[in-house]
Subunit: 149 residues, 2 copies
């Protein structure tokens, strides 16, 4: 088989991986979520080669995750998340929570997510039942839907 592509797989997870599943994309999105907007900022923060960053941003634009626009004041480009991009936040947060818990920095939590208005920390990402009870992994089951094979 040739280099396996995610796209032909009829799997929602694989479809997401087709968009964000390479080495740099999630780190780029992390920086954009954290407020970085400009090409040069991203490049310096990440230590990524320019051509790779340009290719990833182009791909993210084609996938409808990121939009490029001109800044009102200056004449530099800005990259901002589209609504579909913003909806990746649960993925980012779930991964960040896992890493902070299972691969911790000895000095403590690396980052805390708070609600902007109240300043209170958000609830840790987790699976919850329809009526809001937290569920453990074993209490969840997957059943095929109409779009399954």
């Amino acid at each position: 088989m040739k280099y396996t592509s995610y796209k032909p797989m009829n799997c929602s997870l694989a479809q997401t991986l087709a968009v964000i599943g390479d080495r740099w994309t999630l780190l780029i999105l992390r920086d954009i979520f954290f407020g970085q907007k400009r090409f040069a900022q991203l490049q310096r923060n990440l230590g990524i080669a320019k051509n790779i960053l340009a290719a990833r941003l182009k791909q993210l634009m084609e996938e409808g995750i990121v939009e490029k626009r001109e800044s009102e004041s200056g004449a530099h480009a800005e990259y901002v998340l589209t609504p579909a991009g913003l909806e990746l936040q649960p993925v980012l947060l779930a991964m960040t929570h896992w890493g902070d818990k299972h691969r911790p920095n000895p000095k403590g939590e690396r980052v805390t997510f708070i609600e902007r208005e109240t300043g209170k920390p958000i609830r840790r990402m987790g699976v919850v039942s329809e009526d809001g009870r937290p569920l453990r992994a074993r209490e969840v089951r997957a059943i095929p839907g109409p779009g399954a094979d």
Copy 2:
């Protein structure tokens, strides 16, 4: 710059990517979450080369995500998730939800996650405040903790 490794980055997201951030790992974990236990099953379902699957499983064992044990009846190996592995479920579900919504199968939802006891679908993965209100991406802010640079 050398080939970038995630490990030296002081970032919880990067630490998680060091564990699950390559082409096959999440798909392997998906199958294990869905109840596959045996090497040959995984290999056939995924269409992955045997050496790659063996390498990934070994890595997942070293990282404490998966455990290998002998099945009680037969004499074949079984791979099961450790507690740390089970805690990756929010990541899997968040990605699956995103893919199902933004890269849908025209026939409908590919998979539904239900609560085992009641049979009711679980709540969609999302960010919620301390007291349980759903939050939109813009209402969340990240602040550095004691483990930040």
